[in-house]
Symmetry: C3
């Protein structure tokens, strides 16, 4: 029930300064960690708390090796990634046993692998397949002809409309809705007529979708979320959107229909992307900003409408000088006798 | 298993150019359509893709009849509306058979028409009525004394609090919550005391509510969504809001309590409307904008706070010229010998 | 079946002007109230509607005693709070009877007090406790080792991940998700690796969480919502956020990870708070605004990025004068012969 500090260091390719035999049982925040806990210091601002902490050992990066003298340290090249790894070691996720809960409903033709877990009151539609190691938790509603890949997890109350595909190891949190109808209407004689949405949603592998997020099915074809893309809570992804690999969509961001995101695109919190535009690889949209036109690769934009980050910063700075500008203008006007 | 192109044209009052006998089985995007598929060209920018497409026929409007010579065409006055119609013909929605799933729970006094469909694990409260042709899908929670009109569809996990009314042919997507308590408190001696919300929510006919959207019950009286209004995903509608007919509320828009929208009002994505104000018929609020004061009919507004669209455009343009303005001011100051 | 006006006045420490024996059965809006209804006038703008109302009596504050002569009045010092109280008296919430619905699933080791209500198809995980007077309604998913305090209400489809704690008398509306994984990844060799989120969510007493809102579990430790804090619909609260007592978070507001809010903080609709910053007691962030830096106690901020409210107002005013400024600058340039 615990690991030697040296064992933990080995797990993440790090090294120990101090006692390699110290036993560590858990990872805890600086303020509550005790002698059998590992804590961490990533930001030098918290150096004081680290010194005062009761933690048995501290995980640090190379730059902070000398920040807290006299403590047992686990030193890692990439302390954030080491922390992620060590949390998985010391706080392993509960294994959900294979098997289908007796209250789950599998429509005829639904196939659930024997190594998959299906929880109470889940409903799996005809023609859908759940692969080995996947977990379909309580109240999950899976429509027809869906695919849930190996090791994927659908948390309680996730919803998959017909034909949705969830890639291997992807995670869908509670309340997320994949595959609802895109928002498409043809206005004819004063009424908005629904354009049937007959496409589908595909999450590739290692995608995560946060609680309450919604990804609409395509009108035709696919709405597709690329490998390793991570989506936070309450994010809206419109129909026919395609994202590349390893994008990050932060909380309450929204993407209108048919927009295309390259790889490694970042949308900060509450940002928005207009329909039918393209964000190049590595493009970043700042928090609260609205990308209304396409964005070049590796370009950061901010503002409403979004402009290049540096330009936005100057605009904000100048905006705060408007009073001064008016005063100076008035002074010049007086000097030249300009009437107002 | 397919329609002659001429038959499809007749369905939408259009005409054929080319072979009226061509058999069409599906509608597909330009890039994946084959010889038995109809595709479409609505925007001349995609003319190249249309020419290269393997589609058997193309749906076009009058202005694009000559855009792709030598192809079989279905020419329609209103191609968007024709596309909506033809999708319904060629990709008809699966009919849900009438009947109540054995796991559905109908409280005493709940009435479900024999021509309605109630899915697995739906719960329908006492005094609620579900009309003919309606579909109440898996895990839908309907409170007491609710009404679900003819042909209405409640997708899996939709929630109706007590006394909510959903009009005929209205559609409520997964995770939408109709009738939760409005956000009303009376602050008294330092604590916020809940103002009981005893009103209800009414959706009129042909309304659509997107996934995860929330429409709060009125404190007293009704929160009411007018005929044909379409609401996208993750939209918030506060208590006592009333919208007119055929409004369009795009994704993540929000309307604070007691605001009133006329007919044909459009709220673009992530826009907001303050409480107790009025948006006249045909008013439009741009994406990301915040209408903090009432808006005249047929007026487009943008910005935070929102001003008339043209004025907002000028502001944005001038904002980008602030650096130039400061430079020019400095030049004039130098000329007149103004000290700084 | 009704109360004498004098009885109602006594309930709220108010007094009657007019007939104390008048029988009141309900509270209704001015436009639909009848002779056995109480209505109310809080804003003098509605004086005309009040005069025209068929209401048997009107609730008013001291300042509006003379606003509608000749009517029976219930005069209260704090009419908003009186209205909240009287709604609870005249429109009492339906009592949910104690007991566990036969379709609810209690995992081994889940404890439900005999005075609690558990509705159809609720699932309560191992080690979780539901206290007396609490109501766990249809389809609520409670993970393991959760606590639902006395008199708390979880509306249909609320979700609690493992170890979530809901304080006494707190209310969680439908579709709200408490305790989903915080949005934390360590990017390593081009891929985003999940940082396991092993903390939890704690709602203290008298908290309310609106429909579809999401509060993420902490990475380590707790995400904590203070006593009496009220959260509207579709609000996002990131991991490790801590709020003080009696905060108000309006619809679609968002708080990024590790931000700290003092007591009585107000976030208006669609506002945002950056991660790792601190909002002092009584701080207020205006609608649509983004607090990107810490805010002093009792300070109102607005804008993106948010600045002090007064400064923001001046910026907005000056922004609308930019055209005039450019004109005046041009006039001065002409006068001094400045070339452009």
């Amino acid at each position: 029930m615990g690991y030697r500090l040296a064992e933990l260091a080995a797990q993440v390719g790090g090294r120990v300064e101090g006692d390699p035999e110290r036993i560590i049982e858990a990872i805890r925040p600086l303020e509550s960690a005790g002698p059998r806990d590992l804590s961490f210091l990533k930001d030098p601002r918290y150096r004081g708390q680290a010194a005062a902490s009761g933690a048995g050992a501290l995980l640090v990066g190379l730059s902070l090796v000398d920040a807290v003298p006299g403590r047992d340290l686990l030193v890692a090249d990439d302390p954030s990634w080491a922390l992620a790894r060590l949390l998985a070691v010391l706080h392993p996720e509960e294994r959900r046993p294979p098997g289908v809960h007796p209250t789950a409903i599998l429509e005829p033709g639904a196939e659930v692998d024997r190594q998959a877990h299906v929880g109470p009151y889940a409903v799996i539609g005809a023609g859908s397949r759940v692969a080995a190691g996947a977990a379909v938790l309580a109240f999950v509603a899976i429509g027809r002809d869906c695919v849930v890949g190996e090791g994927a997890v659908l948390h309680p109350h996730a919803v998959l409309y017909d034909r949705t595909e969830v890639g291997a190891r992807s995670v869908v949190h509670s309340g997320a809705v994949l595959g609802a109808d895109g928002f498409g209407y043809a206005t004819h004689q004063g009424a908005h007529h629904k354009v049937p949405q007959v496409g589908r949603v595909v999450l590739e592998e290692d995608v995560e979708v946060g609680a309450g997020s919604t990804i609409d099915r395509a009108m035709l074809g696919e709405t597709r979320i690329g490998v390793g893309t991570k989506i936070d809570n309450l994010v809206q992804v419109g129909h026919n959107v395609v994202t590349g690999r390893h994008c990050i969509l932060c909380g309450q961001a929204g993407i209108a229909g048919s927009a295309r995101l390259g790889n490694y695109v970042v949308l900060a919190g509450q940002s928005g992307v207009a329909g039918h535009i393209e964000l190049g690889d590595g493009a970043q949209v700042a928090a609260k900003s609205a990308a209304l036109a396409s964005v070049e690769p590796r370009t950061q934009v901010a503002g409403i409408p979004a402009v290049e980050m540096r330009r936005w910063r100057r605009q904000v700075a100048l905006l705060s000088r408007l009073e001064e500008i008016v005063r100076r203008l008035r002074a010049v006007e007086k000097k030249v006798g300009e009437e107002r």
